[in-house]
Symmetry: C2
Subunit: 301 residues, 2 copies
């Protein structure tokens, strides 16, 4: 791929906006589209050009990236009226970096693949900070040759880029990641609430557990903040809820019972029902706290 290849970019939210900017900084020509005019203006001021629909983005670009909220958005942008599918040409690469259902990713790849488009699903973890600092972890599904050909672009967006398997595998591994992260948070929440109601300082629980076999990265990063009641996002609860909906849909698609994750999903449903979806996902502890009638807050600092 040439360093000045034309990269289409649809979806300029808190993730897509800094990602598209990194591609501009790296010397790519970037053609942008979004339903919101404001980030388009910003990126055009940095040298991007605007296209008026996903179809026009595809027609004007060598390759296309999408970074959208959920499966229906990707299906509409890729396959809908004035969608990418109406503007694509054989041989171009399409990488969807949104987090969507693996089965939706496979469907999109098959439909565009029938037009000769070489598709990757390439969801990320690392959140807003990872997007801003180009330190995302990128989980890729697709063919090795397409992965290799698109690496010059992905390498400008993330620190760790892993080919996880065929089409859909990137989304599957992202779903696995979000299961584990959610379970780690709920484990911390139930442990701290039980401990607090039994009269132990939650800060001591975090300290002891972090030093042993119970250690998790989410406890290292968020435990000391949780016990102070600091739920500044990070990654918002409503985004993790969305991911849990994808996970439960995926479990349904593949016929896999997920008994503990299903309960975790319900707890996030409660977090949203309590209008706490804009807290960091560590704020799931407040749901357990409400149920138990106690807050897991340290009195020391």
């Amino acid at each position: 791929m040439k360093n000045d290849a034309k990269i289409g970019f649809v979806g300029l939210g808190i993730m897509g906006r800094p990602m598209a900017a990194h591609l501009l900084e790296a010397g790519f020509s970037v053609i942008v589209n979004d339903i919101n005019p404001e980030p388009i203006k910003e990126l055009v001021s940095k040298g991007a050009s605007e296209a008026r629909s996903p179809k026009e983005v595809a027609a004007a670009s060598d390759h296309v990236i999408t970074m959208l909220p959920d499966s229906p958005d990707v299906q509409a942008v890729a396959l809908g009226d004035n969608g990418l599918i109406e503007g694509v040409r054989p041989g171009m690469i399409y990488a969807d970096m949104s987090t969507i259902a693996p089965t939706a990713a496979v469907e999109v790849a098959q439909r565009l693949g029938a037009k000769g488009v070489r598709c990757l699903d390439a969801p990320v973890s690392g959140g807003q900070v990872g997007a801003q600092e180009a330190t995302l972890s990128i989980m890729v599904g697709g063919e090795q040759a397409v992965f290799d050909d698109f690496m010059p672009v992905l390498a400008k967006l993330g620190k760790t880029v892993t080919l996880c398997g065929p089409s859909g595998a990137g989304q599957t591994v992202k779903a696995c990641n979000q299961i584990q992260v959610a379970m780690n948070f709920v484990g911390m929440a139930e442990a701290l609430v039980l401990g607090a109601k039994a009269g132990v300082d939650p800060a001591i629980i975090v300290k002891v557990l972090s030093g042993g076999y119970a250690q998790t990265r989410v406890m290292d990063v968020r435990g000391p903040r949780v016990v102070k009641g600091d739920f500044e996002p990070g990654f918002r609860g409503r985004f993790h809820y969305k991911d849990l909906n994808i996970i439960m849909k995926t479990a349904l698609d593949y016929g896999v019972p997920l008994p503990a994750t299903a309960v975790v999903h319900e707890l996030f449903t409660a977090m949203l029902a309590k209008n706490r979806g804009d807290l960091d996902h560590s704020g799931i502890i407040t749901v357990i706290e409400d149920m138990a009638g106690v807050q897991a807050r340290t009195k020391n600092g």
Copy 2:
């Protein structure tokens, strides 16, 4: 405390046996008792003396340690006929290092406290290897002065010794630890089984998740073995099941709902029902695998 103080030790199982041996090596006089004659013989051959009941242990010792399977065992040894309570003297320290219900620990401490005994609950994590290598993490509940006075003994058994709060707090933090560890294992299990059924190599899932926000120490240690079907214990599933029973009892005692831990408890009930309690606790994945009709095994090594 003098370096040659007489330490009573009741409970010489896979944990207590090497712990008592460490105290002998450190120069303490050790008076042992167990329902099994075999480890008594071994420890007597190393210089310990035998007492024929917990009562006799208490009468012959300056301080006493117990290391027993569960709450009823500790209650019987400490408070029952021919129990410690019949042989104790004011001022001696009693440290129960078993993992039992926090409320049971508080009850024992109150009953022996009424006789002037200075009690600590001091459960451990680190398992058989930690006991053998004297690298246990010890979580202590009790008074600061008693903790300080008993440190010369505890320091010979563990690497990290933490005063967690008043009587019962050590057991509470141990319960919290076992919640988090169990949730981390079940999170890994559900993630790997979903991923495997969706066609992704579980070894790749472990690699990607370990490198990011989903990282847990149990995945670092056990993930690469789980995907090879290696469930050699470690810490046996039936011991974690016992701890989960304590946790659910504790949740009942303190009035704390633990929705996700309750499901995890049921999954360990299934692990025991399938006669897999002697697998490492990471073997909980086999319960999810059976439910999903798939095994999460790598094909690459």
